[in-house]
């Protein structure tokens, strides 16, 4: 093909704003995703600070209960759909073509569309805070009838925001799958693919399978609210439980959408700094695939207390516990990779090790929650909050931070300051544990989640948790500073700044040129 050059002669980035608005370049679009995600991380974090400030002491101090509910809802929605998911899509955009030796994503224009839907969707979502009746206040899980019969008018804007961000996710996932299936360099066989590519392939499959179900369930809400259908109303023969079944059929795979790419990141970083090959590569691939398959048959473990038949309780308890097996395989493999390795502890490695330890804590509390009879005590308490924050903050978020430190030299051609990075790590590590560890105790003692006020017996641990949250939140400003400092004033980075790192991304210069692998490399 020689005729295409008339359309493709620019080899550097375009000048000015049009570079970002009209981009078809996977690196630029990846950068857009990552900055968008970071800004949403701070916005969602701000809402979390409001929540923790109100919970600093028992009684109502700062906000009204209605507004408190809006904060918990918006915090959850923004962190899940605005911070964590776009961050992983950004990493996928930047790294997958570099890792498999592809010139770009398979469908570059659709790639740009997937990104630009997000600012519009989140502008609409956040604008609900200023609407009559306030923002959505029914929790990020938006159970009917709270989100239908008793919802503020702004729920309709929320529904449509979910619709278009779902479209964005599906298109993004289709792009990732098409890229991995079709764009691998010659010799990049399935079992040579880096685990980050594998985990994203499986994540993309999960996204395409469950985002349409989410679209379906919000459509049913829309119809119930405005067009008189009775999907979630028992008076017309429907059922509020139908909402929960559909939502969690999406929701459980969704939590793996937020953690599988994290597994991929950690599986790249630990071998690099242990200077050993990843232990049990094949079992990692199979474990990821089994987790994905199992994720479709465990959803009702979120519904043990709502009244499902006994056989259902047993089935979903057993299937949920099964997930511990492949997850255990992964944790074992990471530890085995470090065993007898010549380890160094640069910032990405610190975050990766913290991931392994703290994610495992979150996994174990998940196992406790999977025990149906015990869940009658834990359900909807702070124990649940502690559980999923352990898998999401020192889990997903730590892996994103680790990935940022690890690949930042590749992205901007400059090294971050190691002392600052390590400071950031220790502040985050302490902050996250001080915030969330006490929540296990208050949860087991019976403090319900999603309330602005609580019994005085929970006061001490709540204060500790709030102090930890302010500490953790403000430490993330250091993260922002480090990133900007690196881009502006970091030391020049080599093509391969990490001695033990492996993969095609380190064979191109740092920063990675605007176009890479226009002729595919031969992978041996």
């Amino acid at each position: 093909m020689t005729t295409l050059d008339h359309d493709h002669s620019d080899h550097g980035p375009a000048k000015g704003l049009s570079r970002w608005l009209f981009s078809t370049n996977h690196k630029d679009i990846g950068t857009l995703y990552l900055w968008f995600s970071l800004s949403m991380f701070f916005l969602g974090g701000l809402f979390a600070m409001v929540i923790r400030a109100e919970l600093f002491q028992p009684g109502l101090q700062l906000v009204q209960p209605e507004f408190f509910n809006q904060m918990t809802t918006m915090h959850g929605l923004i962190m899940v759909f605005g911070a964590v998911m776009p961050a992983f899509v950004g990493l996928a955009n930047w790294m997958i073509p570099l890792m498999i030796g592809a010139p770009d994503m398979a469908l570059p224009r659709m790639n740009n569309l997937s990104f630009w839907i997000l600012p519009f969707a989140f502008a609409m979502l956040v604008s609900t805070l200023f609407m009559e009746g306030g923002a959505p206040d029914f929790g990020w899980t938006f159970y009917a009838p709270l989100s239908t019969t008793y919802a503020p008018p702004s729920v309709t804007f929320f529904i449509f925001a979910v619709h278009i961000m779902g479209a964005s996710s599906i298109m993004g996932a289709i792009n990732v799958i098409a890229t991995i299936l079709n764009m691998r360099a010659p010799g990049m066989t399935w079992m040579k693919m880096p685990l980050f590519v594998w985990t994203w392939l499986i994540t993309a499959f999960l996204l395409i399978a469950v985002m349409p179900v989410l679209a379906g369930v919000v459509t049913m809400m829309l119809m119930d609210i405005h067009f008189g259908t009775s999907f979630f109303s028992a008076a017309g023969g429907g059922s509020p439980l139908l909402f929960q079944h559909l939502f969690w059929f999406f929701g459980h795979p969704e939590v793996y959408i937020m953690i599988l790419p994290a597994f991929g990141v950690v599986s790249a970083i630990i071998p690099a700094f242990a200077r050993k090959k990843l232990f049990g590569y094949h079992s990692m691939v199979w474990a990821t695939a089994s987790i994905a398959v199992l994720s479709f048959i465990v959803w009702a473990h979120h519904m043990f207390t709502v009244g499902i038949p006994f056989a259902g309780e047993l089935f979903f308890m057993a299937s949920t516990m099964l997930i511990a097996v492949p997850t255990g395989v992964k944790v074992f493999n990471w530890v085995a990779t470090m065993f007898h390795g010549s380890m160094t502890f640069e910032t990405p490695m610190l975050f990766a090790i913290a991931f392994v330890v703290l994610f495992t804590i979150g996994g174990f509390s998940g196992l406790m929650l999977a025990v149906a009879p015990a869940d009658f005590q834990y359900h909807d308490t702070y124990f649940v909050v502690a559980h999923f924050h352990y898998v999401l903050v020192p889990g997903a978020v730590f892996s994103i931070i680790a990935a940022t430190y690890y690949w930042l030299p590749k992205w901007c051609g400059r090294m971050y300051n190691e002392t600052l990075g390590k400071t950031h790590f220790w502040l985050s590590f302490i902050g996250v544990n001080v915030t969330f560890f006490p929540q296990h105790f208050i949860g087991l003692a019976g403090m319900p989640r999603r309330i602005p006020d609580y019994a005085v017996q929970f006061a001490d641990f709540n204060m500790v948790s709030s102090i930890g949250a302010f500490f953790f939140g403000s430490s993330q400003l250091l993260f922002l500073f480090i990133i900007i400092h690196t881009i502006v004033a970091g030391k020049k980075a080599e093509a391969k700044p990490w001695e033990g790192a492996e993969g095609l991304e380190w064979t191109v210069p740092s920063p990675a040129p605007h176009h890479t692998f226009e002729t595919p490399p031969d992978v041996k």
Binding site: L107, P108, L113, I174, M220, L246, G307, H515
Partner: protein, 302 residues
């Protein structure tokens, strides 16, 4: 460095990475205007207020239709100019395949709702099964399907009757199966490069699609005006109209896609071996056909 090496043993195709484009962000903006207008309209409608939402919605819709038209026209032009190599075509193939899979999952949500209501929620409210105690909510309610009496008939007026499978729906089933057949014949004609037959089979397929839609409208008219079967007549009407309605919307989109392919056939686009646009539309059409067969069985017959 391997990235810049020349490969003499097996030369690689140069993948077509398009230049920067205004179309994606315009599409995103149009989508935003469309959904913002819809939300505005629905909220105002429910509060019985006059709404500017419908104008915003209309503007968004026109903008989206225009941008997508320009975008697809652009892709077709690129394709006719020979920019798309076999590898890019494979990307399109995967893209379309996974898109159809996402559509399958969308319908699965609504079929799931139907099965859940019929297997669990309905019988439970009627007093049967593991959670039959639910019956105390609506004492005396007897579950039957089709649900001609709702748990609370004052809130949701039940239908007097439902559409029976052996009338129009059976005819529509034959029409859609026939259309899949005529489309396959068109595909054969294209592969043999028999253009006149190709156009004739395509015309027939499009005509069958339009007839299907007209019969579906007739059926809705019947349901609303003679049977009292509406979206608001309880869960039977909800599942019936949402499933058949979304299917109808997909038939409409499919018919539009086929019309575009028909026009392209008449313009002499496509070759015997390279006709992805045609194939993608055909897959979509067969998918819509399969959804209908599931609908016919689970909504109308059983």
């Amino acid at each position: 460095m391997s990235a810049t090496q020349e490969h003499h043993t097996h030369p690689h195709e140069h993948y077509f990475v398009p230049a920067k484009s205004r179309l994606p962000i315009l599409t995103a903006f149009a989508m935003f205007v469309l959904v913002f207008g819809s939300a505005r309209l629905f909220v105002d409608m429910s509060q019985n207020k006059n709404s500017i939402g419908e104008w915003i919605l209309l503007a968004g819709f026109l903008m989206l239709a225009w941008v997508l038209y320009v975008w697809f026209a652009h892709i077709i032009k690129e394709n006719q100019a020979g920019l798309a190599g076999p590898q890019l075509n494979r990307s399109y193939v995967w893209g379309m395949g996974w898109f159809i899979f996402s559509e399958v999952m969308f319908f699965a949500a609504f079929f799931g709702a139907l099965f859940y209501v019929r297997t669990f929620a309905g019988p439970w409210i009627g007093g049967e099964g593991a959670k039959g105690a639910t019956n105390m909510l609506y004492e005396g309610f007897k579950y039957s399907w089709p649900m001609l009496s709702n748990p609370d008939n004052s809130q949701f007026t039940p239908p007097q009757g439902v559409i029976h499978g052996m009338g129009l729906p059976a005819l529509n089933t034959l029409i859609l199966i026939a259309s899949s057949f005529t489309l396959t014949m068109a595909h054969f004609s294209l592969r043999l490069n028999e253009r006149p037959q190709l156009v004739r089979w395509m015309l027939l397929t499009v005509a069958l699609g339009i007839v299907f839609l007209m019969l579906q409208i007739t059926e809705y008219y019947e349901a609303y005006n003679h049977l009292g079967l509406t979206l608001a007549s309880g869960i039977y009407g909800s599942t019936f109209f949402m499933l058949t309605g979304f299917h109808g919307a997909h038939v409409t989109i499919g018919t539009l896609m086929l019309i575009v392919q028909l026009l392209r056939c008449q313009q002499g686009h496509f070759t015997e071996h390279d006709h992805f646009g045609f194939e993608a539309s055909a897959w979509y059409w067969h998918f819509v056909d399969v959804v209908w067969i599931c609908l016919f069985v689970f909504v109308y017959l059983l």
